[in-house]
Amino acid sequence: MSTAASSSTSETIAEPGLKIKVSTKEGEVFELDEKVAKMSQVIRGILEDLGEQNGGDDSVLPLTQVETRIFRKILVWLKYHAGHDKEEAPKAEEDEIIARFCEEIPEWDQKFLNVDQAVILEIMLAADYLDIKKLRGLCCKTVANILKTKTVEQIREMYGIENDFTPEEEEEIRKQTAWCEDEPPRQGSNH
C-alpha cells in the first residue's frame, strides 16, 4: 500500500473500532472510523482488496485528487450521514432514476450544500472520485435546481460558454423548442 509522504496534522473521529487513515492531495492525514471511511466505495474496495488490514499499522490510503478543504467538508457530510442514515440495500439503476425525480433534497443536505457553486462542483468531483453516490447525486440535483432557474443566455454568461451555433442552426433549434420557452402556448392551455 502506498504511504503518504508526510502528514502535517491528524484528525481522529473519537469512536471505537477500526481506524482508517487517508491522506489528501496536500498530504494531510485523517484518521476515520471504519464505518465513515467505507461510505466511500473506493476506500471500501481498497480495504477489501487488502483484507482490511489497514487499521493495525501506519499505512495511509492516498486520496490524491481530493484537496484538504474539500475533504473536510466531505467528512462533515460523511459523519452526519453515518450517524443518521439507515442501512439501505443498493438501489437498482432504474429506481435511482425515479428517486432523482421523486425525492426532495433533505433539509440538512440543503444547508450543507448552501455554499458557492464552485464548491458544490468540487464536492461533486471529489464524491465522484471517492465513489460516494449519494453525495454526488445530491450535488447534481442541487446544481440542476440552480440551472433550472436560468435562461440559456444566463447559463452561457455564467459559465463563459460560447454559443457555437450558426445563426441558422440556432434558429432551427429554437423553432423546435420554442414551446419550451417562456411564452405559454397560444391555444390549448386552460390554466
Binding site: R72, K73, V76, E93, E94, D95, I97, R100, F101, C102, K111, F112, N114, V115, D116, Q117, A118, V119, L121, E122, L125, D128, R136, G137, C140, V143, A144, N145, I146, L147, K148, T149, K150, V152, Q154, I155, R156, E157, M158, Y159, G160, I161, E162, N163, D164, F165, E170, I173, Q176, T177, W179, C180, P184, P185, R186, Q187, G188, S189, N190, H191
Partner: protein, 208 residues
C-alpha cells in the same frame, strides 16, 4: 457585513452584502443566504475556480438527469456540446426504461404522475405542457423499445394511455409537435416497428 461561521466551515453573508455581479456568480442569489468561501465573492472568476464546463460529460449528464424533458429540450440551445449530450440516446433510454412502468402503472395514473412530477415548476401552463411533452417523449421511446420483448406489455399499455390522453383538450396544441419530434428528434424507427394510428378528438389523425 454580517459574518457567521457555518457548518461547512465557510462564511455566510447576508444576501444584501453579497456580490451583485452576474458573471460567474454562484447562482444562489435567489436563496435567502449566499455563502462565500473565505475569499470574498468578487464577481470575478479566480483561476482555480471549478465551473460547470470543467465537469466530465458523465457528471454533466447526471445533472441533466434531474431535469424534466422540456427543460432538457430548452437547454439544447446552450451550445453544441450540450445539445449532443442532451440528444444522446443513452440518456433518454435509461430514463425511459425507468419511468415507463410508472407512467403506465395502474395505481398511479399517467396524469397524476405527470402532475406530481411537474410540481416544482412555477409556470401556470406547466402541467398540461409537461404532461403533453412527457407523453410525446414516451411515444418517442416506443421506437427504441419496440424490439425489447420484455417491454411489450408496457408498450401496449402506453399506447392505450396515449390514445386516452390525445382526447384531452390541452394536448391539441401539441399534436402538431408530435410529428415534428418524431421526425426530427428521434432516430429512425427500426423496420420491425409497428405503426400506431391515433385519432384525436377533432378527428385529426397521425401515425406513430
Amino acid at each position: 457585513m454580517t459574518v457567521t461561521k457555518t457548518l461547512a466551515e465557510s462564511y455566510v453573508v447576508d444576501e444584501a452584502d453579497a456580490c451583485s455581479g452576474k458573471r460567474f456568480c454562484s447562482g444562489l442569489h435567489s436563496a435567502k443566504k449566499v455563502t462565500a468561501e473565505t475569499t470574498p465573492h468578487t464577481g470575478q472568476k479566480p483561476e482555480s475556480v471549478v465551473t460547470l464546463t470543467d465537469l466530465p460529460p458523465l457528471l454533466l449528464r447526471e445533472i441533466f438527469q434531474h431535469m424534466h424533458l422540456y427543460q432538457r429540450l430548452y437547454y439544447r440551445t446552450v451550445c453544441k456540446d450540450w445539445k449532443d449530450l442532451l440528444d444522446s440516446r443513452s440518456l433518454r433510454e435509461k430514463h425511459a426504461l425507468a419511468l415507463l412502468p410508472i407512467a403506465v402503472g395502474s395505481s398511479v395514473g399517467t396524469r397524476d404522475y405527470a402532475c406530481e412530477m411537474s410540481k416544482d415548476c412555477g409556470r401556470p401552463w406547466c402541467r398540461s405542457l409537461w404532461h403533453a411533452t412527457e407523453m410525446v417523449w414516451l411515444v418517442d421511446q416506443v421506437y427504441m423499445l419496440n424490439e425489447r420483448e420484455n417491454h411489450q406489455k408496457e408498450l401496449t399499455e402506453l399506447k392505450t394511455e396515449v390514445e386516452k390522453f390525445v382526447s384531452c383538450y390541452e394536448y391539441m396544441a401539441f399534436s402538431g409537435r408530435l410529428d415534428e419530434m418524431l421526425t426530427k428528434h428521434v432516430d429512425p424507427p427500426k423496420t420491425t416497428s409497428v405503426p400506431c394510428k391515433i385519432v384525436a378528438e377533432n378527428h385529426e389523425s397521425f401515425v406513430v
